[in-house]
Structure formats: structure tokens, C-alpha cells
Symmetry: C2
Subunit: 517 residues, 2 copies
């Protein structure tokens, strides 16, 4: 077997099932090996940002990595922003990048770049395969890196000659990465901190925000009187009927500071202390008030579920306690037929089917109405973790592939959706069950807000043209149709309700262009 | 004045006229300063790859830099591939990237990245502004870097607090960068080499491929019997009626080797020796035959026109000599109405208006028919320099802005055009006079060829799906219309001729979707 075949074989042996890709000349042997094996599902995207965004979404929902296949430095560069999001969200990703052979690199041909340097900025680990003899073990090692610490971006650079050389050996199944267990002293100390009669919040992240982790966190909160919190942007959170209610930290650091003033201690469960998203003149970067003590139960790389279980035991919580669970409540009290961003969320919240996956990059339109889906049917909510716009349209692809029996609903601003608009094509190609709801406000609304907040507003000459995207206005119906996706434009809440309802009944990708006012 | 105003003032003082941008929160003060001044033209793009591609195209045609304005590491990341192309093509670009303030960076907020490391991979120079006192001089310095060595990518990282702090000082006009002059010994030695009765080729690059440089190179070739060559992909070449004929090196290294066997010496004029674009099993990376001597007249960073002038003098070429100049010759001998890639180029070559600018990223479709435009009306021909696909649609924007009285014709494959498809929107917004001719073959045709050439072809399971983009098929008419650009689909050569002719008469952007067979 050649190096490419050993790579593919090792990926398959280790449970990698999907390869998101936009390959080039130097990856042709890998493409051939995937085509020969037919076990690893190849998913083509027309732009690399879609490849890496899809791998991010897949990793979040499948809880195991997919692999990518990118073409040299420029292919990696195009996928970099969504790898940044994946890294910030602790998504497991096996990121494979082809390179020229070593003997070719020193000629500095046009596509030569320093791939490792570019990759390092967004990867937890970077390896370059140095020999056809080690391609199997290097691949196994990079998969292990991707699985480590609750999810990492691990980049494997594969020189083309190693892909085509013969006598490679693939690697057998690897042992799962060891997890870091929280020290018993920490458990005891946090348990005793929770017993104090002071106002406590548990800030949850990672596996504490879904399934067993969330269930136990709910028990602990109910029993100790603590409040459950999540970051402003969480990679994944399970919400809705039957699940503990988790409050989200505000976006603005001054609001976060005010919010946290209600607490005497903040217990970190798998995450880090809150920090301001941006710096603004005269506003705090570090929002936690000095008199709110920060206690860490589990660091991001540690086994959070194990820590929560042991904390549950150490706190002596009786069996029946289950936490305050959300009950179904229609969000549909709509006061007018005007298609406001609020009404959009009310319709979504009301009709949301059981086990739906929301991928939210609605930025200014969806953010304020997050609570309107708190009492909807049980669902997963994915958000933009690293702030690199152009994530969720692509992440929807990965989520839909990881969970092919669940409905994916992408809520996204028109500005955001344009960054990786090519994602629509892959949705059509793979017949993915995704409803894309575009908030068409024809401006970078978030930037108009941010400009004011920055104190940079300058009305002498009106709003800068750089914040408006209404000339020309985009037609999302045409855009979707051009890539084989059906679409409809809606202008009233009632139209949205009807269109959304029918899209929920049907399968396959569908774009709703909501002309919000 | 605040730091942002000092930046903008310095840019304007130094002849920067255009800012291609996709800004974010941390750049709001710069946006406000641009809006206030109204001298620097802001050109918004919906994706950063369009920003940097446009700056590349502008730099090639304006022969001076535009600036970009990018949002933090992810904004830079999205623009990285086209900065790579700009760097490989020696385009002057002042690349401005916002960053968090230093005091915010250490909190590692979600958008924090190591911008300098990412920038270094595609920049000749990277500076971070460290104080509001130095913002003017740092900006002047980075403009000088961009102008140096016949065109460089120079990145300026601007922390947000420096943009908003007061008491900044802008910088006065800078002295142009000193140019490196070729040593007299080299001129004498090349002149004597040209006198030898051996088969000689001059390999031209940069300023030797247009205007005065090309004219002198033509005289030298005519007088000494040398052949004029260009690289396989040149950043810019002037061609057509009244200009010396320059042959292009083949793409495949074995063809290049065969081609160069006809020469005993190869004189480099502003460029480097040819190297293979990719490595292939058993094929040479270094195509120049051992018995072909390589002589350098001017290195890429040296003043090529000056060197050519002095070589002209040293060779004692009489006044009247003007070289073998191309004469008009219709390329329109079309044998059938079938819309082949060849017939497309024949139509383009025949109708090409005087002073048109061709931006070519047609990859497999246009490449073989390059000579069909050799005897068209005088034009500039821009190509993909760094091999990072997704360049020329965006470069067309920059070319059209740099030369607003000239027609820009972008020849591009459907696969290529999808990478930075958002460029169409900016064309509509800025009412740019660009005809985009899409070769719609619905596959990555180049990769099917490359796969064979790699010896990775594997027909057991048919062509890998990763090389086909026909499911779903793209509608370029819908895609263009969705972004405000008029478009038409053509299926025969006659239809193409009529549509192309009418697009030439009208102004403003127009997409022709050529369904080639």
C-alpha cells in the first residue's frame, strides 16, 4: 500500500468516517485512496472555509473528529478562520494538509508556503509526516491529539511523495487518549464551597452543557441553590423541555460585570473566567467583580463529567433531585405581523421540532432573543465560538452529517452568510436536512452598534458606506437556487410561519430569506 | 487627531487612493476616519479574499499600492491566499490589520490570534504600531516597504487603542524607496554574452513585460537574435498589436525542459529560473537543461528598466531597431458553432478592444489557447501568480478601479470563480466595467488532468466525486443576479459572440456563463 492508502486505512481504523475536502494536485493520491476504499465518506466543498467549518460542526455534534483534506498553504489559509473557531470551541478536528515533497520545496515553486507556521496559529498540534514508514503511526498520533483534552485541532502535513510512495504500513486501532482527572482535593474543596450560604454560580462549558453533564449540574444547582450559567457563546448547549435552565452571560462586559455582582463565587466547570469579547475605550476587559471569588472545578482539558459526578457524591445529593427543568411554553405571543427579529425567533421557538439542532450566527438579530427558545422542545444550540464570521452556515453541514436523523436550523445574518456562502452548494449536493433562515437586514447591523459603542460614530457624513450592504441588495432566493437549494422570501410573520412549517415537514436543504424590519 | 486619523492622513499624503476593506469592531475608528476624510475611496467587499485579491489586481495595474483594512486574525486569515498571490506576483500592497489593544490581548478573548505570525507567511514586512506617537511614521514606513523591491506585501498591525487615542501625528510625504541598480560589470558581461553566436533566450518578468521595458527588450531581441520568453504565469504582460512577441514557458516541467533544449543560454531579466509548479513522480522539479547556461541581468528586486536601457546602450543597438512586433490577425477562424474552450478564446481574441485588461484564471480552459490572443489589439494580461485559486475574479475589481477607462475581461473557470464569488457583489456596488466570462464545464477539469499526471488515476470506481462539481449544477445567471450583476448563459459560439459584443458596448459588470463542451 502507498502512503495515501495507509493514511486512509488508519483514519478508518480509528473511527474517522467523514472527510470534508477541497483537494488539489498534491492530494490526488489521497483522493484516489478514498475513492478506492469507499469507507470514508468524501464531502466536497467549493471553498475551504466550508470544509473546516463543516468539520467544526461535525466535531461538536459527533463528539469525535472528522478529517479535512486541504491543498497546500493557500487551501489551509482559506480554511484558517473556521479552524480558529474550532480551536476556540474545542472541536476535535483531524486537519490534513498536502504539501510539496521536501525535495521540491527548496525550489520555492509558486505554491510553496510555510504550512506549519500557518497551521500553528490555529492548531493544538502540528506534525509533518517525514517518511512513508511513519505515515500510519503519525496519522494515529494526530487522531489521538484531536481527541485529547476534550477536543483539539490537530494538523497533519502530508508531503505528496509520501502519499505516492509504496511500502507504507497503516496503523491499528489506537487506545483512546488518557483524560486528566480532577484531583480529589479540588472536589472536596468545591463541595465545601458550595455548602457556604453565599450566592454561587456554576459557569458550564463543554460536556457540562449537554447530556449527563448537564443533568448532574442541574442536580447540584437545585440542591445547593446555585445558578447555572453558560458563556456568552458556547460551542454546544442542550436546552429546552426537560433540561435544566442555564442562563447566558451577557455580551457587553459592563453588563457581565453587573450580572456577576449578584454572585459571591463563580465555579468554573470546564471553562475559563469570562473576558470581554472586544476592548472599548474605558470599558473593562475583565468583567468579574473583585469580590466575586473564582473557583475552578474542572479546567477545559479535564474530565468534566467525572468531576461533576464526584462533586454530586461529595455533596451528598439525594437520589430524587433533578433540578429545575424547563417546561414547554409557546413563545408565539406575537403582537404584530411585522417581521421583526423578535417575531422570527418566536416562530422558530414555537415550531422547533424535538431534537433540532440550531446553528446560530445571527449576530445582532438573534442574540437578544435567545431566551425565546429556552422553553422550546429539547434541542442543541451551537454558536460562533471564536468570533470568526462565516462559521455556522458551514457548521450546519457537519451537524447534519453527524446527526442525519435530526433537523438542522441555521439562523444567520445576511452579512455573515456571505463569508462562506458556498456552503449552500454542499448542502444541496449531500441532500442535507438543513433549513437556513437568513435575517436579511441588508446591513452590518452589529457594526453600526459597535461603532457607537466604540465612540467612533461620526454622523457628519452619515453612516459609513462600509457598514451598509444594501447596494446592491442581495437576493437569497436567487443565490440559493443558483447552488441547487430551494428558497423562499418571506415578508410577514405569518408567511414565515407557513414557510417554516412546510420546510420542517419536508426534508432537504431550504433557504428562507426573512426580510426583517 | 487620533491614531486612526493620523493613519488615514499619512496614507493620503503618500498617494494611497483606495482602501479595500471588510472591517470589524476593532477597526471602527479607522472606518470613521476614512468616512470623515472622504479622500481615500473605501471599497467594501463581503469577504476578505476579495479585499486582498482586489488589492493585488490594483497594485499590478496602478503600479502603486492600495491599502486593505482587515479585521483581526480571522479577517487576515480569510485574505491570506490572495496575499500569497500578491507576494508571488510582487504586487505592492499596504495590508492593514486591526488588533486588540495590548492590555486586552493577554486575556486571550475569543478573537485573539497571533496576527504577526499569520501575516509573516505572506508578507515581505510586518510591523505592529506600538504607540500613538509612532502611528504616522510606522504607516509611512510600511508604505515604503510596499513600494520597495518593485512591489512588496507590507503588513501594518494596528491595535484598536492606538486608533482611538488622541495626539497622534501624521507623516509627511515620504521619499520614494531607493532602487537597487544593476552593477556595470553585469551589464558588460551580459552584453558580451549576447554577442556570442549561441542560441539565447531572455526570460522577462515584472517591468520588462510592459511599456518601456518590453519595448527595449524587443529591440535587444531583434538586434541580437534572442528569443523573448515569459514565465508560465506572469503577474502582468502587455501583448498584442504593436508590441514585441513574447513566448510563454510551458506548464509541464518536461515540456519546459524540451522547450529550453533549444537554447544555450537563458538570460534572466527581473525574474528567477523556471521551476516546476508541482512535483510529480519521476518528473523534474528543475527543468532547465544542464547545458543551458543561466545568466542574470536583473534580479527581481533590481531596477529592470534601467538595466535594459544600459544593456541596449552597451550592445550598441542602432536607433531604428524596434523588434518583431505583433500585427493584428483575427483569431476567429472558427470551424464549428460548438462552444469549445478554443472557440471561446477565438471570440475573445477577435473582439478584444484596444487597452483591455484580461484577468485570466481559466486554468484548464484558457491555458492552451493563450496564443490565440497574441495578435489581438493591444492589451494587458494578468494571471494567477501564486497558484492560490480564487484570485482573478477579485483582481478584476482592483484592475477596473486602477484603470477606470479600460475594459476588464475576467476569464475564469466555474470551479475557480466559486472561491471568491462574493467579488461579483463589489463589482455591482462599484459599477465596475468588468465582463466575467465563466467557463462552465462543471468539473475540476484541471484536477482530472493532474490526477492522471500524478499516476493516481484509479478507474475501478470511476472518477472520484471530489473532482466533479456538476451535482448540483451551478447557475451563474442566478448567482450573478443574486448579487446585482446582469448575466446571460450562452451555448453556442455565435451566441457568445453576440453576447460578448453587446457586453463590450455597454458598461458595468456583466457575467457570461459559457456552457463549454
Amino acid at each position: 500500500m502507498n502512503g495515501a492508502e495507509a493514511l486512509v486505512d488508519t483514519l478508518e481504523n480509528n473511527g474517522i468516517e467523514v472527510c470534508f475536502s477541497n483537494p488539489g494536485t498534491s492530494e490526488m493520491h489521497v483522493v484516489a485512496a478514498i475513492n478506492k476504499s469507499r469507507k470514508l465518506r468524501p464531502v466536497l466543498a467549493l471553498f475551504e472555509g466550508v470544509v473546516t467549518g463543516a468539520a467544526d460542526g461535525y466535531g461538536r455534534m459527533a463528539e469525535k473528529p472528522a478529517c479535512t483534506l486541504l491543498h497546500l498553504g493557500p487551501g489551509l489559509a482559506n480554511g484558517l478562520a473556521n479552524l480558529h473557531n474550532a480551536k476556540r470551541g474545542s472541536s476535535p478536528v483531524v486537519n490534513i494538509v498536502g504539501d510539496h515533497p521536501g525535495y521540491h520545496l527548496h525550489h520555492d515553486s509558486p505554491l510553496t508556503t510555510d504550512i506549519a507556521s500557518i497551521a500553528r496559529s490555529v492548531s493544538h498540534a502540528v506534525y509533518t509526516v517525514s517518511s512513508v514508514r511513519s505515515v500510519g503511526s503519525d496519522t494515529a498520533r494526530i487522531i489521538q491529539e484531536a481527541r485529547k483534552c476534550n477536543g483539539q485541532v490537530a494538523t497533519l502535513i502530508l508531503p505528496a511523495n509520501i502519499a505516492w510512495e509504496e511500502h507504507a504500513v497503516s496503523s491499528a486501532r489506537i487506545v483512546n487518549s488518557p483524560t486528566s482527572i480532577v484531583d480529589e482535593n479540588v472536589i472536596v474543596s468545591v463541595a465545601s464551597a458550595l455548602k457556604k450560604r453565599i450566592r454561587t454560580a456554576l459557569l458550564l462549558r463543554g460536556s457540562a452543557l449537554s447530556g449527563e453533564g448537564l443533568r448532574i449540574a442541574g442536580r447540584i444547582a437545585a440542591y445547593t441553590g446555585a445558578t447555572l450559567l453558560s458563556d456568552t457563546f458556547s460551542p454546544r448547549i442542550q436546552r429546552g423541555v426537560g433540561l435544566p435552565i442555564v442562563q447566558r452571560l451577557p455580551y457587553r462586559s459592563e453588563d457581565t460585570r453587573r450580572f456577576l455582582e449578584d454572585f459571591d463565587q463563580l465555579v468554573l466547570v470546564g471553562g475559563l473566567p469570562p473576558v470581554a469579547f472586544f476592548a472599548y475605550p474605558g470599558k473593562p476587559s475583565w468583567p468579574t467583580p473583585d469580590n466575586c471569588r473564582i473557583v475552578t472545578l474542572a479546567h477545559p482539558h479535564e474530565d468534566t463529567i467525572d468531576a461533576l459526578k464526584r462533586l454530586d457524591e461529595a455533596s451528598g445529593i439525594p437520589k430524587g433531585v433533578s433540578g429545575i427543568l424547563a417546561q414547554f411554553q409557546s413563545a408565539s405571543l406575537i403582537r404584530s405581523d411585522e417581521l421583526t427579529a423578535e417575531n422570527v425567533m418566536r416562530v422558530v421557538g414555537d415550531l422547533l421540532p424535538e431534537r433540532a439542532i440550531i446553528c446560530d450566527e445571527s449576530v445582532s438579530s438573534g442574540f437578544p432573543y435567545y431566551t425565546l427558545t429556552a422553553n422550546s422542545r429539547m434541542h442543541d444550540y451551537l454558536q460562533l465560538t471564536g468570533g470568526a464570521i462565516g462559521s455556522m452556515l458551514s457548521a450546519s453541514i457537519g451537524a447534519a452529517i453527524a446527526c442525519n436523523d435530526r433537523k438542522v436550523i441555521c439562523l444567520i445574518g445576511d452579512g455573515s452568510a456571505m463569508y462562506t456562502v458556498q456552503a449552500l452548494w454542499t448542502m444541496a449536493r449531500e441532500r442535507l436536512d438543513v433549513i437556513v433562515l437568513i435575517y436579511a437586514n441588508q446591513k452590518y447591523a452589529i457594526l453600526q452598534e459597535e461603532m457607537k459603542r466604540m465612540g467612533a460614530e461620526n454622523t457628519t457624513n452619515g453612516w459609513p458606506s462600509m457598514l451598509d450592504i444594501n447596494d446592491p441588495s442581495l437576493s437569497w432566493v436567487n443565490l440559493a437556487n443558483s447552488m441547487g437549494v430551494q428558497a423562499e422570501r418571506v415578508k410577514t410573520t405569518e408567511q414565515l410561519r407557513r414557510t417554516f412549517q412546510s420546510a420542517l415537514i419536508n426534508t432537504g436543504p431550504f433557504v428562507i430569506e426573512a426580510m426583517i424590519c
